[in-house]
Symmetry: C2
Subunit: 288 residues, 2 copies
């Protein structure tokens, strides 16, 4: 093991969650700190008592930044000093910055997804977006798109009608976008696929170890559609493989994952992340 | 900067204090972790709110160990789950172990000083020890000697008679050693030096930048005495230089500093510290 140049001024960043054993964030951020020679180190902490963990972060002055993952993305908001208005609407955060004892929360999942879509060549302006699933990540992406992309329409489908209705109501209250929401059935999916330009899977369907599953029958794909799956284990889900086979443009969830980390890195350090270093580390881990 | 192999299982240790900018502990412990290839990293946190910092330590499961320095060695005791009886008598701790959410406090200054004395060739069994100063470090050393060395007599001298009396009362209540305590004057110092076999300076007299000062006139030294100064900046204080010039055996405070860290390292990691690695790092830092 090589000695990192750790000193009394080294700043700590960390992911908190439960569990955290499979998090890629320590490898990702430490490689980026190293590449730029920044005096930071990134650890992972399993946490049950979120309130105490954040009280500790506030008291430990070199504890600069935190990534917050499942199951703490909602509860963590209670113990912060400042949260961006869009993140209050979304109802969760994934990033905390310790600004000299003042804890500021924000979300980078939504902006990370938007950047993945734009970089992946998805046209959004005036287009119809179909979102499958209404969980935490879906909320972040839906609010970001509804506020920042001039969509023609955002259609939400989910089997959980309470969550579906809740997100639709919040989006209508908090944005000016045209929102449609319907229970996910073969019929509603077929109709929505008939008009969608961009399809975003925000459900866990297709995630390892259930890699054979896809919500969208390949027969529903139409030329020109772009398909984005926020799942990134495997790197190419069944949904994306089917879409690619149908000749469609596809975007892997790993792009959103990298982007959200890039945005966190900027918040932690104040400097731009070495994106290719981070991408290489993530790809090495996900392929191994 | 080289990449340390940090992962989701890397355990954190840290020193808390205010200030912590000059602490040698990060350099010392990280070098030792590296030498043994241990999956640990050691940082420094400036802390004002000790209670929150310790609540955070309890909640962050990979936050394994803490060194506690000025001004938190006394207050930290309030927020722990378990403290060794000897350390409760001493009234301060310098080490906290997070045992799966249970915080255990202990002191390594006293045992570190005892080991420095023994390793330095000081005979203690049946001897008279003179201790100058009654502050926090003196309390730790006095209790350790009074409990673990079969001294003939432990004489305490200090200009602060309230602290002197307090320590003497506590030692008499908590140990079976023969304790004498007297206000520090030219007269009391001369008398005590006349019977002392081992002299321990626990006052800051002689510490950088007041390096010319010594509490003990060189004329009071007698052949065969051993002189130990807990000050280690400079490595050889005026007291030790004078004693060495008089042909006496001398022990630098740096030995106590290294020993207390070695004992902490064992508590943090469960394995024996690479003492020579730690000594080399400390010496490099103190000589530069």
């Amino acid at each position: 093991m090589q000695s990192r140049a750790i000193s009394t001024t080294t700043q700590l960043c960390a992911v908190i969650g439960n569990p955290v054993g499979h998090s890629l964030s320590p490898a990702l951020h430490n490689a980026a700190f190293d590449a730029l020679g920044l005096d930071f180190v990134y650890l992972a902490f399993q946490v049950e008592d979120v309130q105490s963990a954040l009280a500790g972060m506030r008291a430990l002055r070199n504890f600069r930044g935190m990534s917050v993952t499942i199951p703490h993305k909602i509860e963590a908001m209670r113990y912060l000093d400042e949260i961006a208005e869009v993140d209050r609407s979304i109802g969760s955060i994934n990033t905390i910055i310790n600004d000299n004892g003042r804890l500021i929360g924000l979300g980078t999942d939504g902006p990370g997804a938007l950047k993945a879509l734009v970089d992946g060549g998805a046209e959004l302006d005036g287009r119809n977006v179909l979102m499958l699933g209404c969980g935490g990540a879906a909320r972040a992406i839906a609010f970001t798109l509804a506020r920042n992309a001039r969509l023609a329409k955002l259609t939400l489908l989910d089997i959980n009608e309470a969550m579906l209705h809740g997100l639709a109501v919040d989006l209508k209250a908090g944005t000016t976008a045209r929102i449609e929401a319907e229970a996910l059935t073969d019929g509603s999916l077929g109709r929505a696929m008939g008009t969608a330009d961009v399809i975003i899977n925000c459900t866990p369907i297709g995630m390892h170890p259930k890699e054979d599953a896809s919500l969208v029958p390949a027969s529903l794909f139409r030329p020109g559609q772009v398909v984005f799956d926020i799942v990134y284990t495997p790197l190419e889900t069944r949904l994306l493989a089917d879409a690619r086979a149908a000749g469609l443009r596809v975007i892997s969830g790993v792009e959103m994952f990298i982007n959200q980390a890039v945005l966190q890195f900027r918040e932690f350090t104040g400097v731009d992340a070495p994106v290719e270093v981070m991408r290489r580390v993530v790809m090495e881990r996900l392929k191994s």
